[in-house]
């Protein structure tokens, strides 16, 4: 089964990346190491060597000419794949080294078996997380908030590691260009009536990933405000 899944040409790993020259090469290599070779990096207007390093590591690279945010980069990757390859499964994967390539298999299996349209990684399901205490608290608050707004019951609503089957690839519209897209995707699951599942994944918080601008606690509060405004204006 493992062999069959990873060798399929129709499984793509999409990695949005902004100034990740220090880790992007390793991340791509480690994904290849578990057998997935279709890797698309969306270089989101990086000012460092992200594009070059990702290309050398063997990923296909799309470039945003200016930085637009993780949501926009994912949209680019998904739209591009939809229009060109029409993949069966797209896995979204963070560029900062927090996600473990060994989790990809768990994510795609339920879609491959036609049981679910979208599978979401959860750091609070089963496995122990090394998230800092404050981060844990904010993430939990985010979960309660998103579940209330989107009328869904998830254990982790801001996890970038997920696998989308055909129905999700074509059905989910990402309009939020920054981190709010994670909650938007969850909103879309309810709206488009997609069959979803959560699987436990392991997130490793490194000093590098914690220092990223998008990962500050204040940013999570900003995201909450943005989602509320979107709900009011839509």
């Amino acid at each position: 089964m493992e062999e069959k899944l990873s060798n399929s040409n129709k499984i793509y790993i999409v990695i949005p990346a902004f100034n990740e020259e220090k880790v992007i090469g390793k991340v791509i290599q480690s994904i290849k190491g578990v057998g997935f070779h279709n890797i698309l990096v969306v270089n989101d207007g990086s000012t460092d060597n992200t594009e070059k390093i990702a290309g050398t590591a063997g990923a296909e690279v799309l470039n945003h000419i200016i930085n637009r945010g993780q949501g926009a980069a994912l949209r680019t990757g998904i739209e591009y794949l939809r229009e060109t390859i029409d993949p069966d499964i797209i896995v979204t994967f963070d560029a900062d080294g927090q996600h473990q390539p060994s989790d990809i298999q768990k994510l795609i299996e339920p879609i491959f078996n036609n049981e679910y349209d979208i599978v979401l990684g959860s750091r609070f399901l089963g496995t122990k997380s090394n998230a800092p205490l404050m981060r844990k608290f904010i993430l939990r608050a985010g979960v309660v908030f998103t579940n209330l707004v989107s009328r869904i019951n998830l254990s982790d609503t801001n996890n970038g590691l997920r696998a989308l089957g055909k129905k999700a690839i074509w059905g989910i519209d990402i309009t939020q260009r920054r981190m709010e897209h994670a909650s938007e995707i969850i909103d879309e699951i309810t709206k488009k009536k997609l069959h979803w599942k959560e699987v436990p994944v392991h997130i490793i918080y490194t000093s590098y990933s914690k220092a990223r601008k998008n990962n500050t606690n204040l940013n999570f509060i900003k995201i909450g405000i943005k989602i509320l405004i979107k709900k009011i204006t839509e």
Partner: protein, 114 residues
């Protein structure tokens, strides 16, 4: 006529002329023009006939006329900021769509070259 009245008159004349010009070149709708006319007309009314604010104040239950003017001004400001937010958001979304399409086009051009 005191200085406040002169300044208000000049400012309102300028603002209204801008609104009319923008309506003429079709960058705003007639409803928006009407809104601006009400806003600036109301401003003139308050400045030239301050007693009218007292009458309105009594009707809506606020004690002083001057307070009514501030009350209305704050609500109006909130509304305008909200409209600005919506507009900026729309422009922001357009820029995102543009960048996405440009990146896909550039990528396809590069691949064709290869």
């Amino acid at each position: 006529m005191n200085i406040l009245k002169v300044i208000t008159l000049i400012f309102v004349a300028f603002a209204l002329s801008r609104a009319i010009l923008r309506f003429k070149d079709k960058s705003i709708k007639i409803t928006e023009l009407a809104l601006w006319m009400i806003v600036w007309g109301g401003t003139l009314l308050f400045v030239f006939h301050p007693s009218i604010s007292d009458e309105i104040a009594v009707k809506i239950g606020i004690a002083r006329g001057a307070d009514t003017a501030f009350f209305i001004a704050i609500i109006l400001l909130f509304y305008l900021i909200f409209r600005l937010y919506v507009k900026i958001d729309r422009i922001d979304k357009d820029i995102t769509t543009l960048s996405i399409n440009i990146s896909k086009m550039l990528h396809q051009n590069n691949q064709e070259k290869k």
